[in-house]
């Protein structure tokens, strides 16, 4: 049975990749970077957990050793969860072994030993069907596969040499200032059409009658620094029942982050704004006029 090595610093994603591997009747081997991680991973239904021991502080310190290990054991695939650490490891291993990597697969299955996977490009506008033969790497975002049925397996400790060149000076937890938008059921989101920071109140008033959270585009969070988190390809991905975009043009990177919303509503002055192509309902107009009017109209319903 062909071995598939799995690494994710998110146990849920490790369980989802394990589910994929088991349904494909392959052997799932989870890589754990600590004893604590191994204790969680061994219950996810995989065939084995390899507990890496060594002097590394970051999983990528073991990239060369993991590349060597998967090659020596004749692995078929390395599947990493699509987080910063997972992607870094996946691409580092692919670079060392000189093999292909399919990033952020949206679907995957094996035809024999050939992996057939789907990935998206251009911010999700185009879907590619890829075929990878021989050893390769994939990265897998959360929620793509169903988890494996929980079952316990053994843990084997493997000492690996670590690359000590990068030193960790400090770790600073990111204090999430806002709510977790990825779990919000309703979101009112602002873009550059909102001229002044105090005008966010217009969005807050609508959000209050809707029972919605406030979100925004990248420029609002990163350039104007009005709100902590932004929605989009490099930011948070959301899937609310209602996504209300106001003064937000809807660049493809933003639309990528909202495409799984059940209902998208847009208000913008520019009738050619791409957000309208992604919207179920839209009004072309000045948000300063339309949104307060809508807030009142909803109150009266």
């Amino acid at each position: 049975m062909a071995d598939i090595y799995i690494y994710s610093d998110k146990p849920d994603v490790a369980a989802e990749i394990t589910g994929f591997v088991k349904r494909e009747k392959k052997k799932a081997i989870l890589l754990a970077e600590s004893k604590e991680a191994a204790d969680v991973l061994k219950k996810l239904g995989a065939d084995a957990v390899l507990l890496i021991s060594g002097d590394g502080r970051r999983i990528n310190d073991y990239a060369e050793a993991i590349a060597g290990l998967t090659k020596a054991k004749g692995g078929l695939l390395l599947a990493v969860g699509s987080t910063v650490a997972g992607r870094e490891l996946g691409a580092s291993v692919a670079g060392r072994l000189g093999c292909a990597m399919i990033s952020d697969v949206r679907a995957a299955r094996f035809e024999g030993d050939v992996l057939c996977a789907e990935k998206m490009t251009f911010g999700g506008a185009v879907i590619h069907a890829e075929k990878m033969s021989g050893f390769g790497v994939i990265s897998v975002p959360a929620g793509v596969f169903e988890k494996a049925d929980p079952a316990e397996c053994g843990v084997e400790e493997v000492p690996l040499p670590a690359d000590a060149r990068i030193s960790l000076i400090k770790t600073q937890p990111v204090v999430k200032q806002g709510v977790d938008l990825s779990k919000a059921q309703k979101i009112v989101s602002i873009g550059l059409g909102v001229n002044k920071e105090e005008d966010i109140q217009i969005a807050r008033d609508l959000a209050e009658v809707l029972g919605a959270e406030i979100g925004c585009s990248r420029s609002i969070a990163e350039d104007r620094k009005w709100l902590p988190d932004y929605i989009g390809m490099t930011g948070v991905t959301v899937k609310p029942q209602l996504y209300f975009a106001m003064g937000l043009s809807g660049q493809i990177q933003h639309v990528f982050g909202i495409r799984d919303s059940k209902l998208i509503v847009a208000v913008d002055t520019n009738d050619k704004a791409p957000i309208f192509r992604a919207a179920d309902y839209g009004i072309v107009g000045d948000l300063y006029e339309v949104v307060p009017m809508l807030t009142e109209a909803i109150k009266k319903l």
Binding site: I127, S133, A297
Partner: protein
């Protein structure tokens, strides 16, 4: 003088992609542009070079359509651009691209830092920096939102999902930077004019000796059809349109 290399990609402007009714893709009329966040990366290289007393240069790999990118990249403050053109670039995957870029970096003298954007606006595969580092045997950090070069090491802040990690890497090293690293100012007229006089160097793919072989192939591509109602309220006074929208939202059960 040490060189800081900003890798950039000249990509199809995604807003010009046409998805036909049968979901096939038409890019025949698409314009090309500098991949969105590469503007920030080039600026990061220019700033880092200024602080470190180094030279910021550009490197790109693409088809012969990349030539207009040279002036754009140079107008953003780079002193020189190296470019590799090949008709095979259109179908190159992450492996081939990194092979070419790494081979090109080997030919550029005194490279201390390579900066890539964390992800390009076309494929957004986020592979290039770790792959280049693996090929060159240099350390790598991705997701970098702060970069400081001092002497023969760089201190960087990596934005992970729940933490920021401050890391120190000896140089030479490769970093994949996020757009948050710095803004990307629009080049002024003088910068655009002087860009035409700056040097650019073509590196021939065949001279680099990098492999164009890979073990993945694209079996098909189709447009993603977003299933949306696209109902626009355009009739009557604004108050009427707004009321219609409110009623529609109630009918959808989201109020």
């Amino acid at each position: 003088m040490a060189k800081i290399v900003a890798c950039y990609k000249w990509v199809i402007d995604e807003t010009d992609i046409r998805v036909k009714d049968d979901l096939s893709i038409d890019v025949s009329r698409a314009q090309r542009k500098l991949s969105d966040y590469d503007r920030n990366t080039i600026e990061a290289a220019v700033r880092a070079a200024k602080e470190a007393g180094a030279q910021a240069v550009g490197l790109t790999f693409g088809t012969d359509k990349i030539k207009p990118s040279l002036k754009e990249a140079l107008s953003r403050g780079l002193t020189e651009v190296y470019w590799v053109a090949s008709d095979k670039a259109e179908s190159a995957d992450g492996k081939i691209t990194a092979n070419i870029l790494a081979a090109a970096i080997r030919t550029i003298k005194d490279v201390s830092v390579v900066l890539c954007t964390d992800g390009s606006s076309d494929s957004f595969a986020r592979q290039t920096a770790p792959r280049i580092a693996a090929i060159l045997g240099w350390p790598v950090v991705t997701g970098v939102r702060q970069l400081e070069i001092a002497g023969d090491a760089a201190t960087v802040t990596q934005a992970r999902e729940n933490s920021w990690e401050t890391l120190r890497a000896p140089l030479p090293a490769v970093f994949a930077v996020l757009p948050e690293i710095n803004p990307a100012p629009i080049p002024g007229l003088m910068a655009i004019v002087s860009a035409a006089k700056k040097p650019n160097t073509e590196l021939k793919a065949e001279d680099l000796g990098a492999s164009f072989e890979t073990n993945v192939r694209t079996a098909g591509a189709k447009g993603y059809a977003m299933d949306r109602k696209n109902i626009m309220f355009t009739e009557g006074a604004m108050a009427d349109r707004v009321r219609e929208l409110a009623l529609a939202l109630r009918k959808e059960g989201v109020l």
